[in-house]
Subunit: 356 residues, 2 copies
């Protein structure tokens, strides 16, 4: 089959370790399914600040632009937390999203049976929870004009939240499309009783809804959604919302599954290109000890196979291998009940490769 | 003792029923403690739209301004949901906050022992949870300029989030003061890695912190806070944050206690003036049936006694009376495990008055 180019951005903290295991899995699928991948590594985040003086070097951006997909580990850490804005890993993250046109962040919040107990929610409440948050990723208050000025009452700071019809349409259409492949229920989250951007958002959603007569649509106010996720998580199928609300709600949804070390995410633009990364962070406290959990990153490869390459069989095989290893009782420290039996990052990777 | 003027705004839905019971409790405290209250009713919200053509009539505003405190039931309902902005109950709510200078919303999230089971969180996670969210209430994206315009890609909507140093200082000082009366721990929530208003917020918090050397301060990013509330609710004491984040997080915090029908809130300005209301909404679906739970509104009276009048003894007496009635097993339908034994709104009010 055709050679697929994957830009690999290991990043900071545990990023390189977990990406290493994901690459083993990738390699194994070449053998098993006859795929051909060309992987090239790029510097990004804290390590790029240290080595290149910027979180997002031009050559990394070029590498990504020339690739079919990007696999990202994790970025950031206390070392760079007090840097000026231009020299912070997050600035690189916002920059790469914008530069690659990744307007949609897909965050599945799935409960792994073997981790149900890890959730702080009661198991019977969690039962059946399987939702996806579709978050707008290149608009809103994240990217609007921001500045300081002198006001009548001293210094003031300003952030601007802007959305245009086209930005809302494309993310909402995508969410409806995803809902059609799943439970056919869509919750659009906004704050239409207060915000003008939310009122426009709701108008656009209502205008598009008739194109998807099979999808059951509800409008949920963001404060209410934060409550309903807690009260009835299993009643949600697809949630679509703007950038800032999506940041908050996707993290709330991830946490309530109890499986945050296992969740992967995709950031998509027009076409099939996508950036794939685990939901967890760079965990600098455990970096370099070989104890981090590579499963979320390995599942990010499966997500890449599904959403960018259309390699559904291999994606299913990876997911099944992960399940098999977990069902056999193998756990990294973060998900082990009995920490003394925990295995390391490479053992977990090797077991999943073997199960494949 | 001095006559205290209380403006009573029953509002919509179950508002009048629950306020009715709270007024019985108020009356009883006059007898028991020799207080003197002068109560006057005002129209507000949906009912004011219907009767006066505006959610916040000038005479209601004048009534509130002439009072020492305001007791509010609840506003809103589907009847007014599709009205234009000026004719919506929420607009009245935002208007009254601004007009009365109520810059601080105090939302205690306490777990009632007898309702622990009602939470979707595991009891052992909830154990010891007792936190207060201090939400800035008259600034930020709620009150910034909002408009539509034609952009390069069609129509766009704009909301502006503005904070000045003075607005941040007063709410942050108040949160530190509250923390001093409690567990001496303060979590300041922002999104300083993205928003300019959050960076200013964090600067101000850090500038004020040395005035409160006994208070242990942590900065928490809003997405992380949404997660930590789920993971370790009992580790929080006081949370202070801006308007929009506070809207979301205070509702999340309230829901996780399982006691949302029991929680009261205070909106405060400079001085002792305050507006007190239950956290729950107007519940139009059960309005007029006499089955709503008046406890949150009764506890709002206790909060008014504490924060506006300094009637601590009576406040404690009300809280004790509520506890006694609950401990005796009496429940309204919303909190009853066995719905067939549920009592009505007036029975609950009468029992609490009797227990006083
Ligand atoms: C690091 C930060 C800028 C980022 C965001 O808010 O988008 C992160 O929280 C995320 O969700 O990917
Ligand atoms: C009704 C709405 C405008 C209001 C708000 O967002 O402030 C409500 O959610 C609240 O929290 O009091």
């Amino acid at each position: 089959s055709e050679v697929k180019k994957i830009a690999v951005i290991a990043g900071d903290g545990i990023g390189p370790e977990v990406v290493g295991e994901a690459l083993k899995v990738l390699k194994k699928t070449e053998e098993l399914f006859g795929y051909q991948f060309e992987t090239e590594h790029g510097l990004f985040g804290g390590i790029a600040i240290d080595e290149k003086g910027t979180p997002l070097p031009q050559e990394t951006l070029d590498l990504c632009k020339g690739a079919d997909a990007v696999l990202l580990g994790a970025v950031g850490g206390p070392k760079w937390d007090n840097n000026s804005k231009e020299l912070r890993p997050e600035t690189g993250l916002l920059g790469i999203r914008k530069a690659l046109g990744l307007f949609s962040n897909i965050r599945p919040a799935t409960v792994f049976d073997c981790l149900k107990e890890a959730s702080t929610l009661k198991p019977e409440v969690l039962e059946g929870t399987d939702l996806i948050v579709v978050r707008e990723l290149t608009g809103g208050i994240y990217f609007g004009e921001k500045f300081r000025r002198e006001g009548a009452f001293g210094e003031e700071a300003v952030d601007t939240c802007v959305y245009n019809v086209q930005e809302i349409e494309r993310i909402v259409r995508q969410a409806f499309d995803i809902a059609m492949t799943r439970g056919k229920r869509l919750a659009s989250v906004d704050k239409a009783n207060v915000l003008e951007t939310s009122r426009l958002w709701r108008e656009v959603v209502n205008r598009i809804a008739p194109e998807y007569p099979e999808v059951e649509l509800e409008h949920v106010l963001v404060d209410n959604c934060a409550m309903q996720l807690l009260r009835r998580p299993s009643s949600f199928d697809v949630i679509v919302t703007e950038n800032m609300f999506g940041d908050i709600l996707s993290d709330e949804a991830a946490m309530l599954t109890g499986s945050i070390g296992m969740l992967s995410s995709a950031s998509l633009g027009e076409g099939s290109f996508g950036l794939y990364e685990p939901v967890h962070g760079s965990a600098p406290d455990i970096a370099g000890q070989g104890i981090s959990n590579p499963i979320a990153t390995i599942l990010s490869v499966a997500l890449m196979f599904r959403l960018t390459f259309g390699y559904h069989e291999a994606a299913a095989a990876i997911e099944a291998a992960v399940k098999e290893v977990l069902d056999a009782g193998h756990r990294t420290g973060d998900i082990a009940v009995d920490k003394s039996t925990a295995i390391g990052t490479t053992e977990m990777g090797d077991l999943i490769v073997a199960a494949l």
